[in-house]
């Protein structure tokens, strides 16, 4: 199984490790939203930089796959570029920045604007898989709460937000209920992206390397963002269009333009922005 990178197996990890990861992935897909423990390995990047996502991607990628990697929606940031180059080198996978051409998309903190389709797999890098962690620090207890579907605690957090701020103030990592059973953290994606997970035709896999957990949402699964009857879940919205491509209804990042307090809001999804800007050019 050696490759021209002497000493490395295809996709960096050895076959036994990939087998272990795939078992965890199968279990995760079989129990949507359930956190499956796995033996997280070292990969050539520091923990906290997406080692969970890299291991999941390594376990599922083949030479025929086309990989896209985004970091906060962008294809051109350091982390995204280096992970993409890593898999191009060790897995001989082709890479792309186009969402529609990718078969595997590894992401940190965003879901692409272009709707995902059947056959695509999106791999999330997860820093903190346990949605109850900051409410109940004991892992033994949170596991028990999941087992008994005892989720009153999560609503306490939402209650506190409304009591304090008048609305649910959580704007990222907004907790979801998967298939009506498991409470799940969607990784720190903005709540803007939460509705995209519901009934998505793509397979969604989540890897937390430091915390050693894998979980998944199979295609066409119900994903409900929590809320109260009188204070339902409301994704973020933006008033102005992207300053570069003019898209509306997309997630925007603030970009500082000078040292006098000037800034503009542009698409966080660089692929979408380029494409939309190109089309605007054509119609002009």
């Amino acid at each position: 199984m050696s490759t021209d990178l002497t000493g490395y197996n295809i996709a960096y990890l050895d076959e036994q490790t990939k087998r272990m990861l795939r078992r965890a992935l199968l279990k995760a897909v079989a129990i949507p939203g359930f956190q499956v423990p796995f033996a997280s390995r070292e990969v050539p990047m520091p923990r906290g930089w997406g080692t969970g996502g890299v291991q999941v991607t390594a376990a599922i990628i083949g030479t025929g796959d086309t990989l896209k990697v985004i970091d906060q929606g962008a294809d051109d940031t350091t982390n995204a570029v280096s992970i993409r180059q890593f898999f191009a080198a060790v897995a001989h996978a082709s890479t792309t920045t186009r969402t529609s051409e990718a078969t595997v998309i590894q992401t940190r903190h965003r879901i692409p604007e272009t709707p995902l389709t059947e056959g695509q797999t999106i791999v999330y890098q997860v820093p903190m898989p346990e949605p109850l962690r900051f409410l109940e620090p004991r892992e033994t207890e949170t596991r028990r709460l999941h087992a008994l579907a005892d989720y009153g605690l999560m609503y306490v957090k939402l209650y506190e937000d409304i009591a304090r701020y008048g609305h649910i103030a959580q704007t990222y990592s907004y907790p979801v209920m998967v298939a009506g059973r498991y409470l799940m953290s969607p990784s720190p994606i903005p709540s803007f992206d939460n509705p995209k997970m519901h009934q998505s035709p793509a397979l969604q896999l989540f890897g937390a390397g430091r915390e050693k957990r894998i979980y998944a949402i199979p295609p066409y699964t119900d994903v409900e963002s929590l809320g109260f009857e009188d204070y339902p879940f409301e994704p973020q919205t933006f008033d102005d269009p992207c300053a570069i491509c003019g898209s509306t209804g997309v997630y925007l990042d603030e970009v500082i333009t000078d040292d006098k307090g000037g800034s503009m809001f542009v698409c966080s999804d660089t692929d979408h922005c380029e494409h939309a800007a190109g089309q605007a050019e054509v119609t002009r």
Partner: protein, 259 residues
């Protein structure tokens, strides 16, 4: 409420810590609406008994039957953990000696009282908040403290908040472990007054563990006296305290400081 069946029927109950018995051979019946005090010196097995009855500790021998709201008789030792938790959420309360054990100290008072409601499926913020506010009023916590966390409360307020949190789901049975120790005397008296009136209004059954005979006298109908893990005497509270039969109970009663 029908009183044909005891709420709790305990026969030969015991809990063992390793080679030692924390309590053993306990028989008791608790009837709906009844307040039962368990008294004894520290180390006599009071808290172990309470823990065993409330399924926080396992039952090593004997049986505990609970007659549930739906009418069925449950053998507590045979219940699954999820079923015990369901009882905890809907039918039982537990008031700890230290309010910090029973409250979320950094969650607002409203959130603390609302949590049991949310755990039993309440999903309407306005209703949860209104019910929490009602309960705070009932336990004499000012309405403008609803968004303050219990870390900012006095000991007496924390204890009252803990009681509100336990009673908000209208339980049928409440366990109390030394709820008034650690409070000063005037606060104790107010708290006992509050507990007594709530118990009478709601028709609660209560098992209260205390080392303070005055507490037992004030709020309980019946009293069990424990020593070395066994019940040495039981009966109506007034009878036990005014006319103690056993030598140990006589000693206990005579050791009260007369002011």
């Amino acid at each position: 409420m029908t009183a044909d069946l005891p709420l709790l029927e305990v026969r030969g109950a015991g809990h063992r810590y390793g080679a030692r018995w924390g309590c053993r051979d306990i028989d008791l019946d608790l009837w709906p609406g009844e307040v039962l005090a368990v008294v004894g010196e520290s180390g006599s097995g009071k808290s172990t008994l309470l823990g065993t009855l409330s399924q926080r500790l396992s039952l090593t021998e004997g049986t505990i039957r609970y007659s549930a709201a739906g009418g069925e008789i449950l053998d507590l030792a045979k219940l699954r953990e999820s079923e015990v938790r369901a009882l905890w959420r809907s039918e039982w309360g537990f008031v700890h000696q230290d309010a910090a054990d029973g409250l979320r100290m950094h969650v607002s008072a409203g959130g603390n009282v609302g949590e049991p409601l949310m755990a039993t499926g309440w999903r309407h913020y306005g209703n949860i908040r209104a019910t929490a506010a009602q309960w705070l009023e009932r336990v004499e916590i000012p309405a403008d403290r609803i968004d303050d966390p219990p870390v900012t409360f006095s000991g007496g307020m924390r204890q009252r908040l803990q009681i509100a949190r336990n009673l908000v789901v209208s339980p049928r049975l409440v366990f109390m472990d030394e709820p008034t120790s650690g409070l000063d005397v005037s606060v104790q008296a107010r708290l006992l007054d509050l507990v007594r009136s709530l118990v009478a209004d709601l028709g609660l059954a209560v098992i209260i563990v205390t080392h303070d005979l005055a507490v037992a006298r004030l709020i309980s109908h019946r009293t069990l006296v424990m020593k070395d893990g066994n019940v040495v005497e039981s009966g109506l509270t007034d009878r036990v305290l005014d006319d103690p039969q056993g030598p140990y109970t006589q000693l206990l009663v005579s050791s009260i400081l007369q002011g």
